[in-house]
């Protein structure tokens, strides 16, 4: 019997192994240690994230060496593109853990499983970024999604949280059906599930099979759902509103970036031959996503819901850069997703602090007068909102600048115009919160029931990190651009 040994380079999956070990460690601590250690679970998972971060940069070779490592029979790719995404995911996870600790205590939720599930979701995202093969990609996506379904319903006593989980779960598994059918059609047309082999097969035969195009369309549906692109965004507002605030922060950053990471790898590395087919499809989706997200956000009073629609709009901007493809396009996708992680999690950190037990205070009117009562929180919130709106000198401005210049350079001028108009429209609803904070008196009702916002040290650290990220991405973009450019090169 012949032995088929797979080529295994274990160092390529060290970060994922480390995160798995830490989530197991937390689960074991939960079972075997005394309850008084439970405050430390968050710190333990933070250590895990930092260790994984170090290994992402160092292993299997240094980030700046720009090597591409294939392992496990080409099922696993470690290139700078994947690494950059992993940095974004780990950053989002780290910030989420920081803003979660106090929240869990206040809401009297289970500690251990929460952090374990966040780490599991992160492992899933990292698998999506590194998957060189569609079955692996599917498993990563499911690992991420299953953990998120549970996390969305984590505050079990709250009805909205249950509903969010159910809605997310049903629509999510519906989208999974499409993903699988798409992969099945691609497999049937090319005889392989490896992304590189798909590209080779499509290129070699000049294959133009209707099955392949249909499979591609199904993948657009599935990834569109995961990244919340119009018209597959229906779940977003309810799920973002119902999920616990730190989880909403988490969902809006990492998983969305992971969907884009996988989307770009499959379409640009696997199906570049079909570019003619998917370009117009994505053009329409980008225009719709930006416009509908922003227009509906204008009328939202619930700030979590508003940021849900705003996150849809931001996915639209990213899609513009995605369409521009090329070096500039992909590097602006990376730049924007990094900025978005900082500014969105930053904004949600403030929301988490202000929402109060059971999250009653998540409306714009609850922010009235915040500028006088809690100047620090108000300044930070304004910074994040300015960045989301794309006002200089923040990272959000630079990100949008790169995206639209990439779009113009590649000839998508119409889309760039739609994007700029949308950014202007979006200023209105972001500024509405700022105006409420600085120019309106707190209503007497709020005064009476107002519990002081809870700023735990960990949360303040998270806000500072986010604020630093937003400002440095806006003021000193060149060093980030250098890193982003290196990450793009690897995809070619």
């Amino acid at each position: 019997m012949e032995q088929v040994m797979s080529t295994i380079n274990l160092s390529a999956i060290y970060p994922e192994i480390i995160l798995t070990c830490f989530s197991l460690l937390i689960l074991l601590m939960q079972s075997f240690s005394t309850p008084r250690f439970k405050e430390y679970y968050g710190y333990v998972s933070l250590v895990g994230v930092l260790a994984a971060l170090a290994f992402v940069v160092m292993e299997p070779s240094s980030f700046f060496a720009q090597t591409v490592v294939y392992s496990f029979n080409d099922m696993w790719v470690v290139d700078n593109y994947a690494r950059f995404f992993k940095l974004i995911f780990l950053l989002g996870t780290g910030l989420t853990i920081l803003i979660s600790m106090k929240y869990l205590e206040d809401e009297a939720m289970q500690y251990g499983e929460y952090f374990a599930l966040i780490l599991f979701a992160t492992i899933g995202m990292m698998i999506m970024a590194s998957a060189g093969e569609l079955i692996t990609l599917f498993l990563g996506l499911e690992l991420m999604s299953l953990s998120l379904y549970v996390l969305a319903g984590y505050t079990r006593v709250r009805m909205v949280s249950n509903e969010a989980a159910l809605k997310y779960f049903i629509l999510g598994s519906f989208a999974t059906g499409f993903l699988l059918y798409g992969i099945a059609l691609i497999y049937g047309s090319t005889g392989t599930t490896s992304i590189r082999a798909v590209a080779a097969s499509v290129g070699k035969y000049g294959l133009y099979s209707p099955g392949l195009v249909m499979g591609m369309a199904m993948l657009v549906v599935a990834f569109g759902f995961k990244a919340a692109l119009v018209p597959f965004h229906m779940w977003t507002p309810d799920v973002y509103e119902g999920a616990p605030a730190p989880i909403t922060a988490f969902m809006s950053a990492g998983p969305k970036a992971a969907a884009f990471a996988a989307f770009a790898r499959v379409f640009m590395e696997g199906l570049p031959a079909l570019q003619m087919e998917w370009t117009w499809l994505i053009w329409i989706m980008a225009a719709l996503t930006m416009t509908i997200g922003n227009v509906i956000a204008l009328v939202q009073d619930n700030i979590k819901r508003m940021l849900a629609y705003s996150s849809i709009a931001h996915a639209g901007y990213v899609l513009v850069a995605f369409l521009a493809a090329g070096e500039l396009g992909i590097s602006s996708v990376l730049y924007y997703l990094l900025t978005y992680t900082f500014m969105n999690i930053g904004a949600f950190a403030i929301i988490t602090a202000l929402s109060g037990r059971g999250e009653p205070r998540v409306f714009v009117r609850d922010y009235q007068g915040l500028g006088f009562q809690h100047p620090f929180a108000a300044v930070a919130m304004s910074l994040f909102l300015f960045s989301l709106a794309g006002i200089p000198p923040t990272g959000g401005f630079m990100g949008k600048f790169y995206i639209f210049s990439a779009a113009v350079k590649e000839g998508y001028i119409g889309l760039a115009v739609i994007g700029v108009v949308n950014s202007v429209v979006s200023v209105y609803y972001y500024l509405r919160v700022t105006v409420a904070m600085y120019m309106e008196e707190p209503s007497s009702v709020r005064e009476a029931e107002a519990a002081a916002p809870i700023f735990s040290p960990a949360l303040v650290i998270a806000i500072f990190i986010s604020a630093y990220g937003v400002l440095s991405l806006g003021l000193f973009p060149s060093s980030y651009v250098a890193i982003v450019k290196q990450s793009f090169l690897a995809l070619q």
Binding site: S6, K38, M75, M109, E113, L117, L139, G140, R156, G211
Partner: protein
């Protein structure tokens, strides 16, 4: 003979599936789904997928559907007559129309595609536990390991959501 089997099993699967989607009672729907799955298992045997056929019966029709039935019994849901508002009905019609369109597309894709290769004899080990198992532990080692993490995450998630009291583990 094979053709006859295909049509019998295929017809059975479609009929059972139709019974499921038009049914309002969860138990009946679950039983029809089990029937569909069993018919599909027969089709897998026709396709020389012996391991998959066995797994279809053991895992799908057995384990997963029993879990469904268990939950249906546990919740003891009473049926409720569907009363749909006008707009919801409209949406439903649109959705069905879209699905119908997609179906036509899917079938036309099949008709158009010419990658239909003549079916030769299957290799001696095709679809056996030995062949699939060997692939799982060599070529597909990484997905296999990821699946184990996924199952762990699902167990943790299911326990945390379905547990009766929230803070009983800390006592």
């Amino acid at each position: 003979m094979q053709l006859l089997m295909f049509y019998l099993l295929g017809l059975g699967a479609v009929v059972a599936a139709l019974i499921m989607v038009t049914n309002k009672r969860p138990v009946r729907a679950a039983m029809s789904l089990i029937a569909t799955m069993s018919f599909l298992a027969g089709l897998y045997v026709l396709l020389d997928a012996h391991l998959i056929a066995a797994l279809q019966l053991i895992v799908y029709a057995g384990a997963i559907m029993v879990l469904f039935l268990f939950v249906i019994m546990l919740l003891n849901i009473e049926e409720k007559e569907g009363r749909l508002a006008g707009s919801a009905l409209l949406w439903q019609m649109i959705a069905i129309a879209v699905v119908g369109l997609v179906f036509v597309l899917m079938v036309s894709v099949v008709k158009l595609s010419d990658n239909v290769v003549p079916l030769g004899e299957a290799a001696a080990l095709f679809g056996t536990t030995r062949a699939v198992g060997k692939m799982l532990f060599t070529e597909y080692l990484l997905p296999f390991e990821i699946a184990s993490v996924l199952l762990l995450a699902a167990i943790v998630g299911a326990v945390i959501l379905a547990k009766r009291r929230i803070d009983d583990s800390d006592q």
